[in-house]
Symmetry: C2
Subunit: 320 residues, 2 copies
């Protein structure tokens, strides 16, 4: 069975994992540990736990349990001292406290959710993501970086503090992978934070796996405004130190002009500017259901379709 | 298989259920819904859910799952907005929100905990327990009644507000029971609140089941100070309207004087004053482990032993 390792965090991973879990592959998700916003941030501050949010999303993506169980894990309390906390975050944090290990907590939650595959934190150290902008302003924490509209003005550095060692289990997955998928996901908040962990880049460079970069559909205003595929690639490669990708998977399906207009305040469409045989163009857009157009956040209006993504990735796997 | 229905709430039920679950019987716990203290009270106030605390304890008592899972359910968050909440309470409340039904939440939690038997809320209506003392003071809520030291001065009435209908599933269990066990447990805060639900007393009186009253080991200072077995019995029967019990199970094992002294500020020993053939005397004390003498609350120092309790109750069952 082919081993696929997906690297990311946040909602970006979700579609890849959800799509691939229906195929007969050995699937692992390596997840960034930089999240410090919302419910996750409060739990980190108040309980001293590792960030559960991104891990939770990957667990749900890989879950084969009932709809009820998935709804429970994603349920957010609405009022009082619990307000804003997702139940899955509380489960992971309580399990971390009871077992004394975040990895064990992830494993046990995986059992409860009957997941296919594994979810592995990229590091098990407590870290904060920081960024020094060109104007010398320091952005403290992933959520501050996520909300900044100044990043496209350039930054001097981005780093994790303290500089953490990689989780050996993550390195092991990378070393034994047949295919490594990086992205989609927030460039500075989900993808790069994985590469900032000591040993991760060496692991990627040393792995015999084929490597695929799944490029985002949309830019994020003030962060990657006007980025084209080459910008995403060079930004990743800047941290890896060389161009490691064998395939670059790019969407070529244009959303309706109406959707692009609605999305405009969030960001613009990522256009392909690469004439490179590694670039695989495919229609990857998720279909918009009527109800979702009302319920969903704008930034979820244009998103990858799990089935289409998995279909293209499996074409690559089947040629390995 | 004989059907045993245990009526109570709080920690009192725990020993009975934990003991009986190891026997080949059809076991149900009917649980008071008056709890409004601590984590449970906050969840009721902030989320509008039904009280999870007593139900959680019964679920854990009946659980056949791993020690880890039971530790998780009993885990209490220590800091911040979550401080004081038990994870099991949050699970029940989140499931109530997701399913829209407290009973469904209890059922699903029972599956997660792999329980033997059933846990059934005595009512599924939101109620508050109230008590009017002889001095006309009104105690509002179970936790206020629990903490009062004036109850042994007498009270005019105790009632649930609003007056709730019994859960039909609870009535059904009672109607089909072979043995009904009432107690042990807080007289005014765990046992009587079940009897205050519309239809419950009629159900008890109409049921062909044999009925056993398990008398508390210790009185609670300011609440049942100086009560003997006959006082417990007459207090229960005052609400039932007739003497329904076929057996009255009373501990005859005296704790060490040292323990009685330590416990003195919590309450005194319940002495038997009944010369009644229904009274079954048996040694029912839990053994005190060295470690527990430090860790446990004083009121837990003298408590029923699940095995001894179940052994005596099964003698009754085997004679049915």
């Amino acid at each position: 069975m082919k081993k696929i390792v997906v690297i990311g965090g946040g909602t970006g991973n979700f579609a890849v994992l959800k799509g691939l879990k229906n195929y007969d592959v050995d699937l692992s998700a390596i997840v960034s540990m930089a999240d410090d916003g919302g419910s996750t941030g409060i739990l980190r501050d108040e309980l001293g736990v590792l960030p559960p949010g991104d891990v939770r999303q990957c667990l749900v993506a890989l879950s084969d349990s009932s709809r009820l169980m998935r709804s429970l894990i994603n349920y957010r309390f609405e009022n009082g001292g619990l307000g804003g906390h997702s139940f899955g975050n509380l489960l992971l944090s309580a399990l971390e406290k009871v077992t004394g290990s975040f990895e064990k907590a992830v494993e046990e939650t995986g059992k409860i959710l009957n997941i296919k595959g594994k979810v592995i934190p990229v590091t098990t150290h407590q870290v904060r993501l920081k960024m020094i902008l060109n104007n010398r302003r320091i952005l403290e924490g992933e959520s501050e970086i996520y909300l900044s509209k100044e990043i496209d003005q350039g930054y001097k550095s981005i780093y994790l503090e303290p500089y953490p060692k990689a989780n050996p289990h993550a390195l092991n997955e990378i070393a034994n992978a047949d295919l490594i998928v990086v992205g989609p996901g927030g460039l500075h908040t989900s993808l790069i934070p994985n590469l900032l962990v000591e040993g991760l880049v060496d692991g990627l460079r040393g792995s015999q796996a084929k490597k695929t970069f799944v490029v985002n559909l949309m830019n994020r205003k003030g962060q990657t405004t006007g980025f084209r595929v080459s910008h995403y690639l060079s930004e990743i490669n800047r941290f890896v130190g060389e161009d490691i990708f064998d395939y670059i998977l790019v969407n070529n399906q244009k959303p309706s002009q109406k959707l692009i207009d609605v999305y405009a305040e969030e960001g613009d469409l990522v256009e392909n500017d690469l004439q490179d045989e590694r670039v695989l163009l495919a229609p990857l857009l998720g279909e918009l259901k009527e109800q979702q157009s009302v319920d969903f956040l704008k930034r979820n209006l244009i998103r990858h379709d799990p089935k289409k993504l998995a279909h293209e990735l499996m074409k690559i796997v089947n040629h390995l």
